[in-house]
Symmetry: C2
Subunit: 172 residues, 2 copies
DNA sequence: GTCATACTTCAGATTTTTTTGAACAATGAC
DNA sequence: GTCATTGTTCAAAAAAATCTGAAGTATGAC
């Protein structure tokens, strides 16, 4: 039965030795499921979920302790979330320690995430798709195939034009 | 440097012993990249790309031969594409052999794919998210957290309402 | 300037996904 | 009805993604 793919049909997972309340676990499961669709790893989703459900900003050590996760994973997870504009840090005076919280708009965070995944793929594709169309033309491909490939090229171009409008680029 | 995630930073791949023209390879790479974003396996994307660039419908054996892929992968890949309404088969009279071609609308195919991934996740989440909000309320979470969780619940509900409108369900 | 703190790095271990192929099942041409 | 053809299944192998933790680096409190 198991289809060859799609994150849908996943095996049960080894539970992490986390120290979470039941509703924190459910929130984490929600974010893990959604993150899976975009190929974001479990550990990253768990960190985000923990921060999302927390009334206070949390520091590195507390995140590690509550999720029962290695330092490496916490470090990389926080970096990913930070780089995608999904979390912010605050620092208490007289301490080097950073404390993290989710950025106010989850919607913006999601769009950032999508952009960062889709845009590079589209950019890489532009010249390749043009070459494919040219080669197929030279090859005497059927009108139907040429039509398909033409549409693909136009889609790619339009998607690239639209992308910057969807939301202001990384800065700004 | 390698981020903890995102399909972006992938290692080089073992080339498949395929027998494709250069432009067919580039088309396959495009579909593989895009499929990767949605977690669709390489083999499935390669099959789709081959059909997409082909002037004639192709049969099982020809797909296997051109892509240098196992029977199992071809079978599972075709099943996935068929189940998601992305390919159609035609049969020549007097032969059991099916020959495959992409469905006319790639856009529709993509929406089908997205639906099949996102909808089940949303449905599973509805009761869980409600429980999370209730538990947090009982727990005396901060107004800010309650606000976040409330928004999450509303998003989920709206997404579920919208989904059926996006495109007619599997049948119809 | 010193150095303990706070994180980062990355090679290897682990987990999960994907692919393979040999055994098996279904079907329609005859 | 028979059986070669066509495709499926699934356990095991291979590949890929993710996680770990010990060693290393950077920084700001003092």
């Amino acid at each position: 039965m198991t289809p060859p793919s799609s994150k849908s049909a996943r095996r049960p997972r080894r539970p992490r030795p986390a120290d979470l309340k039941p509703h924190e676990v459910e929130l984490a499961q929600f974010f893990v499921r959604m993150a899976g669709i975009l190929g974001v790893p479990r550990s990253v989703a768990e960190i985000y979920a923990l921060l999302y459900g927390s009334s206070q900003p949390l520091d590195f050590d507390r995140i590690q302790a509550r999720l029962g996760m290695s330092k490496g994973s916490v470090s990389q997870g926080l970096r990913f979330l930070r780089d995608h504009g999904m979390i912010l840090s605050v620092r208490a005076a007289g301490s080097r320690r950073e404390r993290w919280q989710p950025t106010p708009s989850l919607a913006t965070s999601l769009v950032n995430l999508l952009r960062s995944q889709v845009l590079p793929a589209l950019e890489q594709s532009t010249p390749a798709l043009r070459r494919v169309l040219e080669a197929a033309t030279a090859d005497g491909a059927s009108p139907e195939v040429l039509d398909r490939l033409g549409r693909l090229n136009r889609w790619n171009g339009r998607a690239l034009e639209l992308a910057p409008l969807l939301l202001p680029p990384p800065e700004a």
